[in-house]
Symmetry: C2
Subunit: 334 residues, 2 copies
């Protein structure tokens, strides 16, 4: 492990993403990335009595599927890093407790998936672990109920709102292996743009994405064309446009090879999700399916994955506070 | 870094706890550990308009004090690991955002302080960081309001209930240094004892503490007498007694050199806290003051610090789910 520049770290050995898995809900099934999910579920309850229990089932089944696809015995996984959006991250702890693996709960809001992979690959490169499981989930119904309004109210959502994705994604990281390889890590700082509108998370998080993106380029001496694709997750349409503008002002034009997982996962014309998808499960499932497949097939050879989180809760919004953002980045190469 | 046994890790180089800080509230000031806190505050609001904002101030001031005491410039801190009990860990993110340090939010309920130190020391030993800040907080008023009942109701608390500590604790870890040194890490698995009573967290967490304690002894070949003291945080009176009994049944008698931070922080006779203290800020502030002082003075030379967390929220309790526990351990030697 070598620090390059201000806050980017180059992995010395090889850390491979041996397998991924993603399971998504009915709205995601109806979207453009449907065929890339390992499994889709038609019932948002997935046979459980509550949305929260359903979300736990999403992360449980997804984590087990990622382990199955890796071919590793579960007891050879040294650590699990996991998190979600639900208060006290109970989706993850209830969903993953039967795995019986040493467990680190992390919270980075929608940046959690990259946070888990960043910490997991650090533990492998630092010699602490051979195999690490990373997992994240989100659920539209449990998130709306907790962060905004009861679904039964049928509240209208403003055009800047994003739609929390019902999905889980997981990855199994191993020492060495044949790739795709996690090559650099750029952990993010908390950035406060002063945004107070909880229905405009993209704008709140764009500043954090910019900070991590520009730091990554400055630290590595790279420019956007180093990467086949740069992905954020999940700024949505509004945040994506802001990031393109702000990064151009900072001297980096990403408009040719950049997209956002929240933009990719739903069809804008037919699915009425306004500014696109969001939630820990969005970047986790889009990476686990659509992006990872392209890395495995060689269609993508070098990517930068930046996950962004809004560090807020229902109470801080009620108490008039701003919505600080954070963005963690990892680069992946085949 | 070397794995020993099943899930314990020995740090190869030296990771020192260069400094700690702890700031506590009025009830903690009235307790037996009063003189060990760096600062105490007489007003639970600490001049803020809400308890949540006050809790953010506790972690902010404590983190800044730990950095000041370390003598390091803030911009030489590579990472901050932090967490708390508030939904979406906003106490930490709001309290620490102005530090402008790459930030990892973690969630392990009351085990969070040891989780941050475990991950922080891994990052140093793995070569990713020279200096790491770890910080945690809890606040009686914000926690009661969020997890149980509005304080204004004046609800009676059952004798098995613990009292959430109003305090924050922080540590600055560095590569090399003169100690106290973090020597071994035993991350915990999620353990479900089947307890459903949210007013009996000690019983819910004792099984996780036992699992990590016994694993640590088996992995290292050590017995309780290897350590001057074993501390848990925070099982309280009931959980402490359960752990003594269960560990004796497992072949390890810890009754002579074991105590619990939740037992230590309040006076049982005069302070009416029933089963003792709890909350991320309990172990963080008791370690940051009372325990760290004894390590620095040489009164304690070898300790095992096990922090325990109840992985629950208000909703899982309402939905009839159990309260799974987790316990992370680090050993510290001078």
């Amino acid at each position: 492990m070598k620090k390059i520049g201000k806050q980017t770290y180059k992995i010395d050995g090889d850390v491979s993403i041996l397998s991924t898995a993603c399971i998504a809900g009915p709205k995601e099934k109806a979207g453009p990335l449907s065929k890339f999910f390992d499994q889709t579920v038609d019932d948002e309850f997935w046979g459980e009595e509550t949305w929260e229990k359903a979300e736990s089932k999403f992360i449980k089944e997804t984590a087990e599927l990622a382990i199955n696809k890796s071919g590793l015995p579960t007891n050879s996984i040294d650590f699990c890093f996991a998190g979600d959006l639900i208060n006290q991250c109970t989706t993850s702890s209830f969903g993953l407790m039967n795995l019986n693996i040493p467990y680190f709960g992390v919270f980075g809001a929608c940046s959690t998936f990259v946070e888990t992979n960043l910490l997991g690959s650090s533990m492998i490169d630092g010699g602490f672990a051979q195999n690490v499981l990373c997992a994240c989930s989100s659920h539209f119904c449990s998130a709306e109920k907790q962060f905004r309004f009861p679904l039964e109210l049928g509240n209208q959502r403003p055009p800047s709102a994003q739609w929390t994705v019902t999905a889980a994604g997981a990855s199994v990281l191993i020492k060495d292996g044949n790739g795709p390889f996690i090559r650099t890590l750029t952990p993010g700082k908390i950035v406060d743009m002063g945004i107070k509108d909880a229905a405009n998370m993209g704008a709140a998080m764009a500043g954090a994405a910019l900070d991590t993106l520009v730091t990554h380029f400055n630290d590595t001496g790279r420019t956007p064309d180093y990467y086949d694709m740069i992905f954020t997750g999940d700024l949505g349409y509004i945040g994506k446009d802001i990031l393109i503008d702000l990064s151009r002002e900072s001297g980096f034009d990403i408009s040719n090879n950049y997209d956002d997982c929240g933009v990719l996962i739903f069809d804008k014309k037919t699915q009425d999700t306004h500014s696109g998808g969001s939630g820990c499960g969005c970047v986790a499932s889009v990476f686990g399916g659509y992006i990872y497949n392209q890395l495995k097939s060689g269609q993508l050879k070098k990517i930068l994955l930046i996950a962004t989180g809004a560090l807020t809760n229902a109470l801080t919004t009620q108490q008039g506070q701003t919505i600080p953002g954070i963005a963690h980045a990892i680069s992946i190469e085949v």
